[in-house]
Symmetry: C2
Subunit: 174 residues, 2 copies
DNA sequence: GCAAATGTAAAACGTTCGTTTTACATTTGT
DNA sequence: ACAAATGTAAAACGAACGTTTTACATTTGC
């Protein structure tokens, strides 16, 4: 059973595929297979549900980025888009849809992006043997770019980003 | 006066800042300074208004990308974010918000992204002196990445992308 | 100078929204 | 075994949605 997990999973799927605003509560109750009363007991509100979806997604996404090389970073993204598809970044999309002024959501997005930025910096430092914030920023841009370009160009953008990152890294090494 | 232009401009501003779904028609009539009857005479429907906003934005955006070097491409993006701010790509956001199944909108997005892809290929070819689809894809990824990373990292992502693109181009030349 | 066109203001349309409530069935811990 | 907890089904809530309509004022072209 575990209604909470079932609800969160169903909500993530619907929010990701159709958008936060466009997804009504009745569609959520249907997909989660529960009454609206149970949904509200577990979720509190639609915004709180979205915030919990984002927190859960952050956990799942960041777990995949526990790597030691920039190459593995993009390999992890290749896996991710193979499993989850190419619909852009749910965090940025949530923030944009809510104008950035829905407390729980804006904070979940900020926390995720900060953690993501820190992780990229760590991976670049580990791979290169020293800190290089400028290179890390470039790798972050490539990662974000691959994620969003993949929406209309397909998963090939991830390999393009991976190859570009390899060149930048090689140059930073010599 | 020119109600149509005033409406389109007001709509672009509101859709961009608060999202398509979250922007109600009364907020649009207020911002455009016209009655709902006049709005519907000029726009037809909310979705048609969004489609027209996107078509108009495509015109304005692509006009800025009439350049001959990759460096100028990113300089144009720097100008754009300075004028328009960093809220991600309105085209991708519109598509995501509507699940990709609102006819006029999905087509405007597809047309824009196809034109954008073609333009990047042309600029790379002009700058390099020959076609290089793989490099063009990387430049496109950097452009898209700078646009979206700027939402939380600020406009500095555009200079990071510009520097990265210069390295990739230099390498492709030798 | 008078129709046609174009505008406003505001009410009303039916629908759908997120959320709460009522009434009742089933499980569960002690 | 019995009370508390947890679930369902479904109606109801007021508010807001996108859109249309009614009634009237102003401009505009011939």
């Amino acid at each position: 059973m575990d209604m909470t997990r079932k609800l969160t999973a169903a909500a993530e799927r619907l929010f990701d595929r159709h958008g936060y605003m466009a997804t009504g509560m009745d569609r959520l109750t249907d997909a989660a297979g529960m009454s609206s009363r149970t949904l509200y007991k577990h979720a509190g509100s639609k915004a709180a549900l979205m915030a919990r979806v984002l927190t859960e997604r952050d956990r799942r996404f960041m777990a995949r980025l526990e790597v030691r090389t920039v190459d593995a970073l993009f390999a992890a993204l290749e896996d991710w888009v193979r499993v989850e598809g190419c619909r852009g970044c749910l965090f940025l999309r949530s923030r944009a849809e809510t104008g950035g002024d829905t407390p729980g959501i804006a904070e979940a997005v900020a926390a995720h992006k900060e953690a993501f930025h820190r992780r990229v910096g760590e991976v670049v430092a580990t791979d290169l043997g020293r800190e290089d914030p400028a290179l890390a920023e470039q790798v972050l841009v490539l990662f974000e770019g691959a994620t969003h370009a993949a929406v209309y160009r397909g998963a090939q953008t991830v390999s393009a980003a991976k190859a570009a990152a390899a060149i930048l890294l090689e140059r930073a090494r010599s």
